[in-house]
Subunit: 179 residues, 2 copies
């Protein structure tokens, strides 16, 4: 699953095959089909594991950072780290483009993951209004989707240029708003 996730995030869900996985892991294609009978099964397992991981990461940020500004900075760092030097984007972005070859269940899961992140960012901006650690907050309900869009767009920019600098310049102003 580690390889599958990395491959999906690097080349899209259609961009890797059971054959690629078999070579990478060192077993045969048929053996992988034993664990994930169809690629649809694999896609479900991937997005579910991704959601669980992300939940833990977000909770971890809340536990280790008290102010909204510090939390938002940590979220930006989380997305930056997910880039793997510009070789991968986040699974939501990868699955968005592979939309046509994914089941409705998986599409709904991607949507749910997005909603979870949006809720977390919204709550962070609401906290920022109270603790004053994020500057120039207008409406948290609109700051959140704008922020997520910017993070995912910055991912794409870094992927296109295969350079983390593209991510950094795109998120610079957002970062500067956080104390």
């Amino acid at each position: 699953m580690d390889f599958a996730e990395h491959a999906a995030r690097s080349r899209g869900f259609d961009g890797f095959s059971y054959g690629d996985m078999a070579v990478a892991i060192g077993i045969r294609k048929a053996s992988i089909h034993h664990h994930f009978p169809t690629k649809a099964n694999l896609s479900e397992a991937l997005i579910e594991r991704y959601q669980t991981n992300l939940q833990h990461r977000l909770a971890e940020i809340e536990a280790t950072h008290a102010t909204a500004g510090a939390r938002l900075k940590a979220l930006i760092a989380l997305y930056r780290a997910a880039l793997d030097d510009g070789r991968t984007v986040c699974l939501c972005v990868a699955f968005s483009t592979s939309r046509e070859s994914l089941s409705k269940v998986v599409i709904a899961k991607v949507s749910a993951v997005r909603a979870m992140i949006l809720q977390w960012i919204t709550a962070t901006f609401e906290l920022g209004q109270r603790d004053g650690s994020i500057s120039a907050i207008l409406d948290p309900a609109y700051e959140a989707p704008a922020t997520l869009a910017m993070l995912e767009g910055a991912h794409l920019a870094a992927r296109t240029e295969e350079d983390l600098v593209a991510f950094d310049v795109a998120t610079r102003l957002l970062n500067a708003r956080c104390q």
Copy 2:
């Protein structure tokens, strides 16, 4: 090429085949190979046409809108219209995810298109500083990559949810900054 562009933007460059094109157009695969011998040729033709079109669109916006705020609003509308009700993203985004199956020439072209847009947005923010039609401008050099990231991220959001509303909420604050 119209079909190929739409398909690439909807399903990724690997998400459609010469067979799909043949069915859509009503001729045979071999006939398409006559015009575009390899899929690499097709990808180059697509990105080149895209760049030319975009150049004209941006020039058109400049010609019909005097203030920076009006121009930025028009750019947001341009990206919104490119969504086709959430079924397609822009070609740069689509090609970013299909990165591994594209030639270096095409990757460089995508990069060039991005640079062109970035320059245009930067110039627009610089004008905004002078004419005061965009509020809360910090550094135009960083506003531009942040804006492009937000627009492309908003595209992804709308594509994921297959709903234009996702684009609208993500770009709402940016829109509100334009007079």
